[in-house]
């Protein structure tokens, strides 16, 4: 039915628009205040990668204190001011600032903007055959709000008293009585929340309204499904944090008592204020966001891994429908598991029973997704290029992260493991060797589409091998420490006798973290080198089937010369009696 409609637009129309808008725009409009989803995607990507590096730098600094508490930091210790590291020895103030900002930056300024802002923006419109996002101007605003939010967060390092130091969770009353850095944190978060609000509205409308003719929901690539559900999580889970941030700002600036109970005594001084508030209220509002946020971190990663596995096994995904259903189910369930972060706040028995049951239930679709992705390998012809290596490594790493969630999700075993390094190990396995590996896979996979050049395979494999080794080196010891009862967020863990025996593991973790830092050098070099000198490739170097590979490389403003028509599902690989082992979604011929 729609074939004629497509022809109505015609190649000429698309080409004209490309000609008149793609090249004639002045530099600042084309690359700075761009409304092209691909440029915005790359802006997001570069900014987020810088923040990831910065956030990683913060923790590499912290790891010195974990490993050698109270000793001066070698080489760079002298570069810091006396407010932070007098004589190169890190002060607790600075340590807790690094901790709070490492969490905030990695989650809100690094991974989510890279997974959703960059890959979502760049790939989703291409994969559904759309010329752009539904609201290009909003898309641009979304990026710039993110940018401003990031700048506010960075600026807070330089104010007197330093940045936020109450952890990325900012639990009141501690965060309310903290210094001005916390105000910056809250304002920065407000920008980031509004940025993600605009972004999520844009994704939902784009995916619902702008799919190419023939691109039914059953033919959507798995990545688009993952982004679609993610957008709903961002849309609906972030506003309560916005509300919470407003309340905490009121507590800090207007001296209200939303989170401040009556009769607080800090440093033997009775705290002024009306009292009558409830500190646990913040935890509910915060985790109502922050648990879906975990799935915001992981779902796009699963989407990327699905795309890359299908392409590099030359085989369709196993159980596409089960995958999609599981992702949707996870989306719903993620809104009713939040209080498993709060088992030890003294919540009622029924409530804690409810939340551990929902937590066990949400583990089932995750198991299904992991199983389906592994079974997708069966019967394939697996091509081990760099993106595939990262995608395949994602599976066991996410598996470890998921399994170790089990003893934390059961409230009885959580009594011992809560707030120990076990928790740190658990969620880092999910987001660091999990999500970040998937994001690396995505970079290697889509880099040829963005630049027209491939990244070096040799450097990529070096990057992969050492990243895999050292990621495990950083996080595996944390499980052992957590078992031994070593608590998280310790400026000097050796203060506790129970933490002393496992202190060598802290040293091991730290050395691994620094080596992991070194292992990123080949990637950084590869990334910039390949932009200019990488091997030139044609528009579909991986012989993939999804629509982004049928667009010109790099795709012009407006994406497709002819609006594509979709004839089949997303992963039509190795079809018997077909001339190639891949059959693009928009290719007409029927044999």
């Amino acid at each position: 039915m729609s074939k004629n409609a497509v022809n109505g637009h015609g190649p000429a129309a698309a080409h004209d628009s490309h000609g008149s808008h793609g090249h004639d725009l002045p530099f600042w409009q084309k690359y700075i205040f761009s409304q092209d989803h691909k440029i915005i995607g790359m802006q997001y990507g570069l900014t987020a990668l810088l923040f990831l590096l910065f956030g990683f730098g913060l923790v590499m600094l912290m790891r010195w204190q974990f490993a050698y508490p109270g000793q001066p930091v070698p080489f760079i210790g002298g570069l810091f001011s006396d407010d932070t590291m007098p004589g190169g020895v890190m002060l607790p103030e600075f340590f807790y600032q690094l901790g709070a900002m490492h969490g905030t930056i990695m989650v809100f300024l690094g991974i989510v903007p890279l997974a959703v802002g960059a890959f979502g923006n760049y790939v989703v419109p291409l994969q559904i055959g759309a010329p752009d996002m539904a609201f290009p101007k909003l898309n641009m605003m979304s990026y710039w709000l993110y940018f401003i939010g990031g700048c506010v967060m960075l600026a807070s390092f330089f104010i007197p008293g330093g940045t936020a130091q109450s952890g990325w969770t900012s639990y009141p009353p501690l965060s309310v009585i903290a210094g001005q850095g916390q105000t910056f944190w809250l304002i920065g978060m407000a920008f980031l929340i509004n940025s993600s609000l605009l972004g999520s509205v844009n994704f939902i409308v784009t995916i619902i309204q702008l799919r190419a003719d023939g691109m039914t929901f059953n033919r959507l690539p798995f990545f688009v499904w993952a982004q679609f559900v993610t957008a709903f999580l961002l849309l609906l889970a972030f506003p309560p944090l916005m509300g919470a941030a407003v309340l905490q700002l009121m507590d800090r600036l207007a001296h209200t008592s939303f989170f401040m109970p009556s009769g607080l005594v800090v440093n033997d001084q009775v705290v002024a204020g009306s009292g009558g508030g409830n500190p646990v209220l913040w935890q509910h509002l915060f985790w109502f966001l922050a648990h879906p946020e975990v799935y915001v971190l992981i779902l796009p990663a699963m989407g990327i891994v699905g795309e890359i596995i299908a392409c590099n096994t030359r085989k369709t995904l196993y159980g596409y429908k089960a995958l999609v259903d599981s992702v949707i189910f996870i989306g719903f369930m993620s809104f009713i598991v939040w209080a498993h972060h709060m088992f030890l706040t003294g919540m009622g028995t029924k409530m804690s029973a409810f939340f551990q049951v929902t937590t066990m239930i949400i583990s089932i679709p995750s198991v299904i997704i992991l199983t389906a992705l592994v079974l997708s390998l069966w019967g394939g012809s697996i091509r081990f290029n760099t993106p595939m290596l990262f995608a395949v490594a994602f599976l066991p790493m996410f598996g470890i992260g998921g399994l170790t969630g089990l003893p934390l999700g059961l409230n009885a075993s959580d009594i011992h493991l809560h707030d120990t390094n076990y928790v740190i190990g658990h969620f880092h396995y999910v987001v660091a060797p999990g999500t970040i590996f998937a994001l690396f896979a995505g970079i290697y996979h889509w880099f040829p589409k963005m630049t027209g050049r491939k990244m070096s395979e040799v450097l990529g494999k070096i990057h992969f091998t050492f990243s895999l080794i050292f990621m495990n080196g950083v996080f595996m010891p944390m499980f052992i420490q957590g078992m031994a009862g070593v608590l998280r967020r310790m400026y000097d863990p050796t203060q506790y006798a129970h933490a002393v025996p496992t202190q060598p593991l802290s040293v091991f973790s730290s050395v691994s973290a620094w080596c992991l830092g070194l292992a990123q050098i080949p990637f950084i070099f590869n990334f910039f080198y390949s932009i200019f000198f990488g091997k030139k490739v044609e528009e579909n170097p991986w012989h993939a089937t999804t629509l982004e590979w049928t667009a010109p490389t790099p795709p012009p403003h407006g994406n497709f010369a002819v609006a594509p028509q979709v004839y089949r599902g997303p992963y039509e690989y190795s079809t018997p009696n077909h001339k190639n082992d891949f059959w693009p979604q928009s290719m007409r011929e029927t044999n």
Partner: protein, 199 residues
């Protein structure tokens, strides 16, 4: 370029809505979560306070708030009339009703600022009690939404209406989206009024 993006002025054949309308609904869903979270906070704080929680009608100005409720409801009606006038291709009447909507929004804010001023005179600040804290926060946030509505509506009344000549469908879509938002702002107040002033 923009012309390549479909469903800007004409609805999608399957979903039956334009991009702008779907986007507005999504935005409103997010707003519901925001106010929902704040209302839940209100409930939790109030339950926690027990009998110490004052009755809104004892300390707040109910007649003024009732007046404000009527003002906002009327402005919702004029907003509907503005949309209807566009459907009848009557730009003049549209301007009249849109102007009335903006004016009523200003009346609401003026009345509200009298209420605030009165409270401040009696040294009732957000820090006075948790009741005043939530009262000022919720009404303040609602007030910001009203100001946002005024900005959008003023844009659509003056510079934005140039689009009427170029693409009447798209312009109508924008006015409808602004209308949806405005009704939402109205609806929030209709929840706020009994929760804060009466219960």
């Amino acid at each position: 370029m923009e012309s390549l993006i479909k469903h800007i002025s004409k609805p999608h054949p399957v979903t039956g809505v334009t991009n702008a309308k779907l986007g507005t609904w999504c935005f409103l869903a997010s707003e519901i979560m925001l106010f929902g979270a704040l209302f839940s906070s209100y409930v939790l704080l109030r339950v926690g306070a027990g009998t110490a929680w004052p009755r809104g009608s004892d300390i707040l100005n109910v007649p003024l708030a009732t007046l404000n409720t009527l003002v906002l409801i009327t402005s919702s009606v004029t907003m509907v009339m503005a949309c209807a006038s566009l459907a009848l291709k009557n730009l003049g009447k549209y301007r009249l009703y849109m102007g009335a909507t903006i004016l009523l929004a200003f009346v609401f804010l003026v009345v509200k600022s009298f209420e605030y001023g009165h409270k401040f005179e009696h040294h009732h600040f957000p820090s006075t009690s948790t009741f005043y804290a939530i009262y000022f926060t919720l009404t303040g946030l609602h007030g910001l939404h009203v100001i946002g509505g005024i900005v959008v509506n003023t844009y659509l009344l003056f510079p934005g209406s140039a689009l009427w000549k170029k693409d009447p469908d798209q312009f109508m879509g924008r006015v409808e989206a602004a209308g949806l938002y405005w009704h939402f702002v109205d609806l929030v107040w209709i929840f706020l009024f009994p929760v804060l002033y009466l219960l």
